[in-house]
């Protein structure tokens, strides 16, 4: 993992010269070792920034909040916002740029390279360490994580703890940046969609039973939608409660808003919600895995989006988040798009 001393200097300079409003980065969380998002406003706080295998969050999410805040300010401060991004997060920014949700001048991108590693899956770590409580985690020199715990140092090969998305990572270093820390080494990925195989191998009935058992657990806390940088709509079409009401919204408009699904977490309507969200992420999801990590009931949501990502690649040769000048997947077409399923 890149050492981000050079990045910290850049951050201090930016803040001192007032070039950016604030910097979104990773700092040490409440339990003393895992990373949490932090917002640095003053140069002297920059030392609080960390970069280690626990920096799992996709900070691009907070560019959505920044845009909403700016829209409400009477005299908006037009300076860009500094943001620390991994490879996958940078692809999220590319999609936001591609969809004209944010302008390039709004963001000052401080890229960090994961090099030969990535971020740790907290469940894999807990299973590996069992009772031992971790206190710090670093990348060793020859492809292993060094974790010091209350029961002494533990060394584990990187592949055993990496999050699923890192094992299938397509962007070890940011595809877009103003400043980059760490070198541009790629980690070999033999099967980019390997994690899908165990589900695709199941029969149709087995897949149905798998997804029914999983989506039945959903309690509609909408964390998967709230944590996703691509889910930036003010009003979610499939959400029966939230509605963007302005002073001039007419009573009829409010009365006639269609409740596609109800608010109670009834199994079939959980499907409608998650399927619509997955489709709306088709060709936009950059597999940062945050929806699955955030889900309190461990519903494997990543596999819904990963499937559509695979379809977009196989059927239409489209990969999200690499080129912001391309049209979106579903706002373009090719003459030889598959139509075998059409009568």
């Amino acid at each position: 993992m890149a050492k981000i001393e050079d990045l910290k200097e850049e951050a201090k300079k930016l803040l001192r010269e007032g070039k950016v409003k604030y910097i979104i980065g990773y700092g040490v969380g409440g339990n003393g070792w895992t990373a949490v998002p932090v917002f640095i406003k003053k140069p002297e706080d920059v030392d609080g920034l960390i970069w280690d295998p626990t920096c799992v969050h996709n900070l691009a999410r907070f560019l959505v909040d920044e845009k909403r805040r700016k829209a409400k300010e009477k005299q908006p401060d037009a300076r860009p916002v500094g943001i620390i991004v991994k490879g996958c997060d940078s692809r999220a920014i590319v999609v936001l740029l591609q969809e004209k949700f944010i302008d390039r001048k709004d963001v000052y991108i401080l890229g960090v390279s994961c090099e030969k590693a990535g971020v740790v899956d907290d469940k894999k770590l807990a299973k590996k360490l069992k009772e031992k409580k971790p206190k710090k985690i670093e990348l060793g020199d020859n492809g292993q994580f060094i974790i010091d715990t209350d029961g002494g140092k533990v060394e584990v090969p990187v592949e055993e703890l990496l999050a699923e998305r890192c094992l299938e990572c397509k962007a070890n270093f940011p595809v877009i940046y103003d400043v980059l820390s760490g070198d541009k080494t790629k980690r070999a990925v033999d099967k980019p969609f390997g994690s899908l195989e165990k589900i695709e191998a199941l029969s149709s009935e087995e897949r149905w039973n798998f997804w029914r058992a999983e989506l039945e657990k959903c309690i509609r806390c909408y964390a998967c939608r709230s944590v996703c940088p691509m889910c930036y709509c003010d009003e979610c079409v499939v959400d029966s409660i939230n509605m963007a009401v302005a002073a001039d919204t007419s009573a009829e408009e409010k009365a006639q808003k269609i409740k596609w699904i109800q608010r109670s977490s009834e199994s079939s309507e959980n499907f409608v919600y998650h399927l619509v969200r997955a489709i709306h992420l088709g060709g936009r999801c950059i597999d940062c895995g945050e929806c699955e990590r955030a889900c309190p009931l461990d519903i494997p949501l990543r596999f819904l989006n990963k499937k559509l990502e695979k379809e977009a690649k196989d059927l239409f040769g489209y990969e999200a988040g690499f080129d912001s000048s391309l049209p979106a997947l579903i706002s373009c077409f090719k003459d030889d798009d598959p139509e075998d399923f059409i009568r």
Binding site: W211, F271, K307
Partner: protein
């Protein structure tokens, strides 16, 4: 003989072609199963995936989206967009375990009354053995 299962099909028909095709079939007194609840839309490209999922959620046994042949679209590109978007829908529905035959798409022009009836006949024939759609249907 136990009263046979009659599948309920929700068909989104593009106004310019498929809906006109179905009218032609009607005007020419063509015989075809009456299981279809036709919904006329301005273009197959206007079909949001939410309509398809919601139709299944509200109890449809089969959903058909029928639009103009490539090149005939009144809005030039609508059916091309539909082709790509609804292919993703089909793959996703199959991935979660819904019987693939339940969601169909077809090109039916305004002159193809017979093709329209054939599409519906085939669709009903394929749906009958599957029985009622219970997977995405709202139960309470």
């Amino acid at each position: 003989m136990a009263e046979e299962f009659e599948p309920k099909i929700v068909a989104f028909l593009c106004k310019w072609c498929s809906s006109a095709g179905s009218d032609l079939a009607g005007v020419s007194r063509m015989e075809y199963p009456a299981n279809v609840v036709p919904i006329q839309v301005m273009c197959s490209g206007s079909i949001s995936p939410l309509y398809v999922f919601s139709a299944f959620n509200k109890g449809a046994d089969g959903v058909l989206v029928s639009g103009c042949h490539p090149g005939d679209c009144h809005y030039i590109k609508g059916n091309f967009y539909a082709r790509r978007r609804l292919k993703m829908v089909k793959q996703l529905l199959e991935y979660i375990g819904l019987e693939p035959q339940r969601f169909q798409m077809s090109w039916v022009s305004a002159a193809e009354g017979t093709k329209y009836t054939q599409v519906i006949k085939d669709f009903v024939k394929e749906l009958k053995p599957l029985g009622p759609q219970t997977k995405l249907r709202r139960t309470t």
